[in-house]
Symmetry: C2
Subunit: 360 residues, 2 copies
Amino acid sequence: MAANNRYCVIMGGGIGSRFWPYSRTDFPKQFIDFFGTGRSFIQMSFDRVQDIIPVDHIFVVTNALYAPLVKKQLPMLPEENILLEPARRNTAPCIAWAAYHIAAINPEASIMVAPSDHIILRETEFRKSVIKGFEFVEQHDALLTMGVKPSRPETGYGYIQIGKEQVPGINEVKTFTEKPNLELAKVFLDTGEFFWNSGIFLWKASAIKNALAEHCQDVASIFDKGAGLFGTPGELGFIANEFQNCPNISIDYAVMEKASNVYVECVDIGWSDVGTWGSLYEISPKNKDGNVTQNNKACMFNSKNNIVSMKEDKLVVAVGLNDYIIADADDVLLICPKADEQRIKLIVNEVKSLYGDKYI
Amino acid sequence: MAANNRYCVIMGGGIGSRFWPYSRTDFPKQFIDFFGTGRSFIQMSFDRVQDIIPVDHIFVVTNALYAPLVKKQLPMLPEENILLEPARRNTAPCIAWAAYHIAAINPEASIMVAPSDHIILRETEFRKSVIKGFEFVEQHDALLTMGVKPSRPETGYGYIQIGKEQVPGINEVKTFTEKPNLELAKVFLDTGEFFWNSGIFLWKASAIKNALAEHCQDVASIFDKGAGLFGTPGELGFIANEFQNCPNISIDYAVMEKASNVYVECVDIGWSDVGTWGSLYEISPKNKDGNVTQNNKACMFNSKNNIVSMKEDKLVVAVGLNDYIIADADDVLLICPKADEQRIKLIVNEVKSLYGDKYI
């Protein structure tokens, strides 16, 4: 049965620096329970696939640093399903390793690859879309990416322009487009031809291996050296020696923008990458003054449209603040206008230059 | 020798609610080392008199709650010199008790009464002024208050208008004036006749007892009931029973504004009552952007004229904030425009109504 060949790879190695100081190198965004629901981003990522993919077919690829966090937050995950990267090398090497590993276990495998730190509000629709995507890639030699129907002229996302429909809801890809300016984003929205690039992919293990071989020899050649070792006790030693030699390259750049067998599944699943404080603000419930205070004790006077993140039980009192991020993380307090959130990465660098890694 | 009859009473029972959340009911302003010098306000108040008054002539009157803090911060103070009020009753009952207590020990005593939470920058000048004041009250039946030469048209202080000069630098009092508006404060400054009411008093114990008897029988009659008990083991039981029956009344209202033998010593001692975040801001060293960050690790971007108080080693990053108070006290964070600092007392009440005493 095809379903027995289905796997999921959750990528959980990012450091989430745009969410500093809440997200820290030693406790990044994907492990945080931002919404106070009791489940972190990575736990929610796991939860939403476990009904359609058996637990022992779910893999988490993460940095070796985060092994204890993954084990603690996903105790039901078999330990051998946690692939620990010895170095940070972006998505292409991460996806390549998972594909080689799973293909060695099951050459007929089909794989969904998903980020660990996104939000999907319409989970039933998501699961239907995943199943439809698996069926497509099992029947076609295809690299399938999920394109999310845009709900607003978002300038923070990449877009995919769709081409000819292959089966209902799955189209050829005409172009991948970087983050547009607002004017262009409005045009994208109006045409109905552009979808947000979600970073969720489906393919057969063999298909992505072939695509890497064809379009990204820099990566494929390294993993090819380990042929025969994947799925054996020799794999870890091989990875420990070779993984760091991979180039730092994204799967979009390495494969998706080059391959000819790329398709997009057009979905409407309530997706957000929650890449910034602003996007967290957008998707969070607000009080009558437009403040997002999550589970915090917050007394806001003459203050509107702020997003507040404090550690449990800390009281924040704000007077006369509008459109700010107020993020308190024990040893760091950040107060920054939402409009200036692109500065946060620069601020992290500045703090690093002043204080080393202490506050990073 | 007259100096052997000199005493100092430091009033240290306030709760400093205008400095919330840094100042807390269980650790109020006078016990805080605001400037990171290693000495709290009350320690500095003690330090600045100990060269001119023997330690066993220095008394601290405070609320019973704060006995452990006083003992810890002033370990050299004899324990019997800490007078513990069983209730909060403003300055007149506090001063009355100290006067009755000291008069019982030494009927010839002269006393300087000083708040515990003010700043005096010119300590040598202050000590000279204290000695001159003692000499005056030892030679005259006088209630002497220190009037500070104003350096700016401050609207947050009370003023004393001086009358005829008695001895050089010591004048009769023409009027006591409440906090003026800015226009009036400018006139006060220009005339040269108005001095800030510092709340530092000098008098013989007998003189203040006489004044209380004449002008504030509500208080005097209570302490008169304890005649014969002050300075004996019976005093504590008497205070435990009777102190709470005193009216809540300030010494200014009870005596100073009524008595005819009130004089003002005109001093220039670098005094500030540091009654508000704004006044702390004014007297604190500022960086080139006008930010007061004390000993904190602060990265301020596009931010001017703020005052920041964080617990040691906490990093604050602020972007685009001007003229704010940023005060982090472990379990409470306050972000409030300096111009709105008069709201802080109301905020404390609001927080109390929401969360009880937890954050107060």
